[in-house]
């Protein structure tokens, strides 16, 4: 990890840590920040795939969906202990990633995009057909999970700092993965697959492991999303949601997880800000995104670096 790549996220984390005490402590602001942090985790996990491994997935929302629906299934069965729910949800998302990734990673380029999209849609339609969990209408959780029996997560600040801790942990993990031997092989295979093979690395297994790790982190983000809203619906798994995540990653910049972090925070917050200004905010947001893609080749973090 290079210092300049670390300084930006550390600044962001510090800002998020003091935000509740400098005027962003009300319910609405904290809800918004939690949402931004959760999408930050999801986007960073996706950036491991897109930026690190060159795998442009258009089905990443399904990982969040599997995590969120694991919460629903367990809630329905009366299991609401985070120490059980979180590992189960993360493993479920990892397993989903393993099964779908094992197929998807055999393809590349546009085929990979299409097949991840197809798996995402499959998961979406599956959840909307689950009548016992509310089908299209979704499922309202009775309350947030307990942590070792305590109602810790109900506290606004506690939830805020839980999200922040997991956000920072996700950044550390993704950055460490990219810097490791494993990440070096991933990055090499992304830049020049034949070169990676010629020194003895068959990229498939490395990519699959990356896909599973990204799925697991996505699953964790899905759990947090369910807790933030205390509600889960198939809308979590739409392909538009996958597209949003991809956009956060690309807008922020592909140079590392800090790009995805900045991209996610920027999009969630700008969306909110524009929505407050005018109800026609999408008409402003759309062209803004297009301009960003055209003019910010290194993403937002590339802009900051100049």
């Amino acid at each position: 990890m290079r210092w300049r790549d670390a300084s930006l996220p550390l600044l962001v984390f510090a800002a998020l840590a003091i935000a509740p005490f400098i005027g962003f402590g009300q319910g609405h602001a904290l809800t918004l920040l939690a949402r931004a942090m959760i999408f930050g985790m999801a986007a960073m996990s996706l950036s491991l795939l897109v930026g690190g491994a060159g795998l442009v997935s258009l089905g990443h929302a399904a990982m969040l969906g599997v995590g969120a629906y694991a919460v629903v299934v367990l809630d329905h069965a009366g299991v609401t202990e985070a120490l059980v729910v979180l590992p189960v949800a993360v493993l479920a998302a990892a397993l989903f990633a393993l099964l779908t990734g094992a197929v998807a990673i055999r393809t590349s380029g546009v085929h990979f995009i299409m097949i991840t999209l197809a798996f995402g849609q499959m998961a979406f339609f599956t959840t909307s057909s689950l009548a016992i969990y509310g089908g299209d209408d979704g499922y309202t959780l009775f309350s947030r999970m307990e942590v070792a029996g305590s109602r810790f997560l109900e506290g606004r600040l506690a939830f805020h700092f839980t999200c922040l801790a997991l956000l920072a942990g996700t950044w550390l993990l993704v950055q460490a993965l990219l810097d490791s031997r494993f990440g070096r092989v991933l990055r090499a295979a992304q830049q020049n697959e034949v070169r990676a093979q010629a020194v003895g690395f068959a990229p498939y297994r490395y990519r699959l492991v990356a896909y599973v790790i990204a799925g697991a982190i996505g699953g964790m983000a899905g759990v947090l999303l369910s807790q933030a809203a205390e509600f889960v619906a198939p809308a979590y798994l739409t392909w538009q949601r996958s597209g949003d995540l991809l956009f956060m990653v690309i807008l922020g910049g592909l140079a590392g997880p800090h790009g995805a972090l900045v991209g996610a925070l920027a999009i969630v917050l700008i969306e909110e800000w524009l929505a407050e200004l005018t109800e026609h905010w999408r008409m402003i947001f759309g062209p803004m995104l297009i301009l960003c893609v055209f003019f910010l080749r290194g993403g937002l973090v590339g802009l900051l670096r100049r």
Partner: protein, 248 residues
């Protein structure tokens, strides 16, 4: 001495074009076997089949006594079959050092290691640096491969191949694009190293070929039309007609 590498009846067609026709040849430890022939003779395509980049239509590649015909490029590389590319094949965003360190990493333990920064692994860097140094690239270790000159890129290709500690080295025109002085240095270097492995060398630079090769095979239109010692090849009338030109 038993052969490190043996090609048995390799054949390959691209549509109607027979690019490799029943090619058999062998390579022993410490030997430089040069493969020469006019442009389009099928030399690179043959290297592709030996290295596992392309699958042959028929025939076998036997490496260290094992039939590796069904294995891919990566699996053959892990067994000690290294190749360089005629068209430079590098990791443009990696530094020269990291290009080589990746090759060292492939030969030193598992790469399913997730937390320790690879760039800080002194053992990998030291061996990578030694390979760069051998190629005279030590001073350029920190430069991204994309920013190297053409000649330096060729040297980096070789440094990567050497860092793989191969048993057999497949070199596809390693001297193309290097200056005369540089070429001389590389020839001396390869001559010094060749006891470590066997080299299958494709090269258009005839003085270099005759300086290095223990055996020469001549490929024309996908067929081996002559094979023998440098002296025998020099004297072969058919070869002179096909390739060397009568003025030589």
């Amino acid at each position: 001495m038993s052969a490190l590498l043996e090609l048995r009846g390799l054949s390959k067609r691209f549509g109607g074009l027979a690019v490799t026709q029943d090619v058999s040849l062998s390579l022993a430890l410490g030997e430089v076997h040069a493969l020469i022939g006019p442009n389009g003779a099928g030399k690179t395509t043959l290297i592709h089949q030996v290295s596992g980049t392309l699958a042959p239509d028929a025939g076998q590649v036997v490496f260290l006594g094992e039939d590796v015909t069904a294995l891919g490029l990566a699996a053959r590389a892990r067994r000690g079959l290294a190749r360089s590319f005629q068209i430079t094949c590098l990791l443009p965003g990696f530094s020269a050092l990291e290009n080589v360190a990746l090759a060292v990493q492939a030969r030193s333990g598992s790469s399913f290691r997730f937390f320790r920064p690879a760039r800080g692994e002194a053992a990998l860097n030291a061996r990578a640096m030694a390979a760069l140094d051998e190629m005279g690239l030590a001073a350029r270790a920190g430069v991204p491969a994309s920013a190297l000159s053409h000649g330096e890129k060729r040297q980096l290709e070789l440094a990567i191949a050497l860092a793989m500690e191969p048993r057999v080295l497949l070199l596809d025109e390693p001297l193309a694009g290097t200056g005369a002085e540089e070429a001389e240095r590389l020839i001396a270097l390869l001559r010094g190293l060749k006891q470590r492995f066997g080299i299958l060398l494709i090269e258009h630079d005839m003085p270099a070929v005759f300086a290095l090769a223990d055996r020469i095979s001549v490929l024309a239109q996908g067929k081996v039309i002559a094979s023998g010692t440098p002296d025998a090849i020099r004297a072969d009338a058919q070869v002179r007609a096909a390739y060397l030109g009568d003025d030589e």
